[in-house]
């Protein structure tokens, strides 16, 4: 709690001198904010409570879900484990992790090249990336679908229905989206370090893998996690690439479960949603500080 210096005599800041306000003044200045906070929290967590309650309701369909926590049973969770859900979860984790790792490695390599070498086409390359960055890859999803139809004839592993194809598609969007973030961070690592290593006889590969990659670990973690989270929730590309229920990711599988309102296994969906959301929420709470710092840094730098 920062206490304002007593030099400022302005009437509006008066309260700041006396940290412990009492009674009506406390209510007028601070108390109502706590009341408001309770309302905002209720608004923010109501849907989350609802999905938790639905997941614990043994009823099965949407019909009985309107009364919160009227019945509690774990039957949906155990049923979930017997069906396709664990497979979807695994698919999602595999696809998201592979994309995140690929994104980090390729992005870091590109950022290293742009940050440490001067070559013809460097400025042009950076400008091109800046422009490409404006157009999200998913806008071209029709052409991606058509491309995979063609590729599938040549490499069945890169065609419609394969996880590898989906990962490759996600990696295609990696360079455009992340290089700039990393490039900025790489530039903050002093070049003297590279030169010292070079004088000691290190090759560019040793400098990159052995030195730079260790120094930029924070940004690698941020990019990797952001990429993981966004891939985990990506829907449209996964929807057009994956065509068999066994290969679905969570986003596609849970959509299929929830989209049929009348006969949908609603409480099963709710249980799936709870489990699917836990890793992401945990990541967010754990990394809150960095995410907020990252957002602010982005906003201030513009």
């Amino acid at each position: 709690m920062a206490t304002k210096t007593p030099k400022v005599q302005a009437p509006v800041l008066e309260g700041a001198n006396d940290v412990r306000l009492k009674g009506g003044r406390w209510w007028g200045k601070v108390g109502w904010k706590h009341v408001l906070a309770v309302f905002i929290i209720a608004y923010a967590i109501f849907p989350l409570l609802y999905v938790l309650s639905a997941s614990l309701s043994p009823g099965g369909t949407l019909t009985g879900s309107a009364r919160l926590f009227s019945e509690i049973s774990l039957v949906n969770y155990s049923e979930l484990m017997d069906g396709r859900f664990p497979k979807w979860m695994l698919n999602s984790l595999v696809v998201s992790s592979a994309s995140a790792i690929g994104t980090v490695v390729m992005g870091a390599a590109a950022a290293y090249a742009f940050s440490r070498f001067r070559f013809s086409g460097r400025r042009g390359g950076l400008t091109a990336l800046l422009i490409i960055q404006m157009f999200p890859q998913m806008l071209a999803f029709v052409a991606i679908f058509l491309l995979l139809l063609t590729l599938g004839d040549v490499f069945p592993q890169l065609g419609i229905g394969s996880h590898l194809a989906l990962i490759a598609v996600y990696l295609g969007g990696a360079l455009g989206a992340n290089t700039f973030l990393m490039y900025g961070f790489f530039n903050t690592i002093p070049r003297d370090l590279d030169e010292a290593a070079k004088i000691d006889g290190a090759t560019h590969a040793q400098i990159f893998w052995g030195m730079i990659m260790r120094l930029v670990t924070p940004i690698l973690a941020v990019v990797g996690l952001l990429s993981f989270v966004s891939t985990y929730g990506e829907f449209i590309l996964a929807r057009i690439v994956l065509n068999r229920p066994d290969t679905y990711t969570l986003a596609v599988g849970l959509y299929v479960w929830a989209s049929d309102e009348r006969n949908a296994p609603w409480s099963l969906f709710a249980a799936g949603a709870v489990i699917a959301a836990i890793p992401i929420i945990a990541l967010f709470i754990y990394l809150q500080k960095y995410i907020v710092a990252g957002l602010t840094a982005g906003s201030v730098k513009g």
Binding site: M1, A10, V12, A16, K29, K33, H34, A37, Y43, A44, I45, P47, L48, A54, T63, S65, A66, L68, A110, A113, F117, F119, S120, G121, R122, G125, I132, M134, F135, P136, Q137, L139, V142, L146, V154, G172, A174, L175, G176, T179, E195, K198, T203, H204, A205, G233, F235, A258, S259, E261, A270, A277, I280, I281, F284, Q288, L295, T296, S299, G302
Partner: protein
């Protein structure tokens, strides 16, 4: 690519470049990786050659030569780091964008899926009829992955053929007059045949390479008969003639065979149609009405989403950016929960909550009201904005809190000295400064919502639908979900039209980003 590192120029070294120094362990790893890549690449070139995909062959040859040059040359050091990313970028982003632009000018879609040669073969096979008095074969429908085929006993041996391959002898077992097992293929059960009914009914297996011999087809999955086309193709005149003598001639502008009286044969083939797809959006009266409504709604949705989430986020940030309020860390953790909850799940959960009969909003919160949240156009739009407000306000709260804290306290104090009240200080000091730092993020948020496919698709599916539109689109569809509907969900898939719509989105997103870029600079210059 000429390389000059910023290090002081070294004296020309006599030693080997490490790119070729075989004594280093890294070199061995590189050699193994490159061997794998070359093997895969060569395999791909051969496979693509066999498939006649010359575009893929050309790309692989160039990419492979580039890879070998980049990684074995001692120059081109930056390229060693850029190459993998650039390959993926080139294929899955640049190429697909270019191809979107190309497909937008073609009639690609159902009925115009392939080349002319394939279309001719397809026409011959679909316009067939049983040859009178021809023999029937007890048939086994066989599968291998996604491929289907027929296995029959013919000339005393097991023969198998698929859509692309005519009947040919294979190893297998015979039970009576029926094939009991085929090596490498799985015989489908009745249930499996029913699951793929359309594929099985559409399957034609040629008796030989000669189309005139006819082909096998089945109506029930257990007996196959020999059928032949009722149309004959005259290569010299490029026409089809049916058994009544009606002539269908090729129309290269539209990519199909049509008779004098307008009757057309399906399928056609892919041709360039110029600006037809773009013109269709504005001139086809059944499409243009819905299209303009969707266009307006897309902008309204994106602008209102940014405005509402920003207003609520800013409101909360201003109120809770107050050191006197205790427990702000806890509040912040609670406030951002909707942001942490995966977006696609949120849309699905809200869809259940907004359900007309059983949703908790009608049932419990509104005491059994009967509001058709997602079924009525205007209510559905309201619901979408409401859900997006819930999803988006925490983000705005976070960035505005960050921006508020970065505004120097002196400015605030200076305002107080000059006698400005709290509202005046907010309006004239805090808000303009805040806007400078968050404007780029607001524009990014606008661009994101402009293409917020999963929210729309999962919450309303675009519905309620426009009656009478030639594609399945609805009042809450935005442009990107309209593209999806045109490309994948409207009975007849129209990739050409969908790509043309995508191009429009590209242009708009580009314009928004460019404006945003300029606007940001302008704001920074002013303040």
């Amino acid at each position: 690519m000429s390389v000059t590192t910023e290090a002081p120029k070294r004296v020309e070294e006599p030693r080997l470049s490490h790119a070729r120094d075989i004594s280093r362990p890294g070199f061995i790893v590189k050699l193994i990786l490159m061997a794998l890549i070359n093997a895969l690449g060569l395999y791909g070139i051969l496979a693509a050659w066999a498939q006649d995909s010359m575009g893929v062959v050309a790309f692989l040859v160039v990419a492979l030569i580039a890879a070998n040059w980049v990684y074995f040359s001692k120059r081109a050091v930056p390229a060693k780091y850029l190459y993998p990313g650039l390959v993926f970028l080139a294929v899955y982003q640049l190429y697909v964008m270019g191809n979107t632009a190309f497909v937008a000018f073609t009639n690609y879609g159902d009925g115009h899926n392939s080349t002319k040669a394939a279309a001719i073969e397809q026409i011959l096979k679909t316009s067939d009829r049983r040859i009178d008095g021809s023999s029937t074969y007890p048939v086994a429908v066989v599968g291998q992955g996604a491929d289907l085929g027929f296995a029959v006993v013919r000339d005393g041996e097991v023969q198998l053929g698929t859509m692309d391959e005519p009947l040919a002898p294979v190893a297998g077992e015979v039970d009576g007059d029926r094939v009991a097992a085929v090596e490498g293929w799985e015989i489908l059960s009745i249930a499996e045949i029913q699951q793929q009914q359309n594929e099985v009914l559409g399957l034609r297996v040629s008796l030989s390479e000669e189309p005139a011999d006819g082909w096998l087809r089945t109506d029930n999955g257990s007996l196959a008969y020999v059928a032949r086309s009722t149309l004959s193709y005259d290569e010299a005149a490029d026409t089809f003639t049916n058994d009544e003598g009606k002539v269908f001639s090729a129309d290269p502008d539209r990519g199909l065979f049509a008779a004098e009286d307008g009757e057309e044969l399906v399928p056609g083939w892919r041709v360039l149609v110029g600006f037809e797809n773009f013109a269709k959006m504005f001139t086809d009266s059944r499409l243009s009405g819905p299209f303009f409504q969707i266009l307006v709604w897309t902008f309204a949705f994106a602008i209102l989403s940014v405005a509402t989430t920003f207003a609520l986020g800013l409101f909360i940030a201003v109120i809770f950016n107050d050191p006197l309020v205790k427990g702000r860390r806890f509040y912040r953790a609670m406030f951002i929960l909707p942001y942490a909850f995966p977006g696609f799940l949120a849309a699905l959960v809200w869809k259940g909550m907004l359900n007309k009969e059983f949703g908790i909003i009608n049932e419990t919160l509104l005491g059994g009201a009967d509001i058709n949240w997602l079924g009525d156009g205007n209510l559905a739009k309201l619901a979408i904005l409401g859900v997006n407000l819930w999803l988006g306000f925490p983000y705005m709260f976070l960035i505005t809190t960050g921006a508020l804290q970065s505004i120097p306290g002196e400015l605030h104090e200076a305002g107080v000295m000059d006698g400005a009240g709290p509202w005046r200080r907010f309006r004239s000091i805090t808000f303009p400064l805040l806007l400078v730092s968050v404007a780029p993020l607001l524009i990014a948020s606008f661009a994101f919502n402009f293409n917020n496919f999963s929210l729309i698709y999962m919450l309303t599916g675009g519905g309620p639908n426009f009656p009478g539109a030639p594609v399945v689109i609805g009042e809450t569809d935005i442009l990107i979900s309209m593209v999806y509907a045109v490309a994948f969900e409207s009975g007849v898939k129209q990739y050409g039209l969908a790509s043309a719509l995508s191009i429009l989105i590209f242009v708009m997103v580009g314009a928004i980003s460019w404006l945003g870029f300029r606007q940001t600079r302008k704001l920074e210059e002013i303040l």
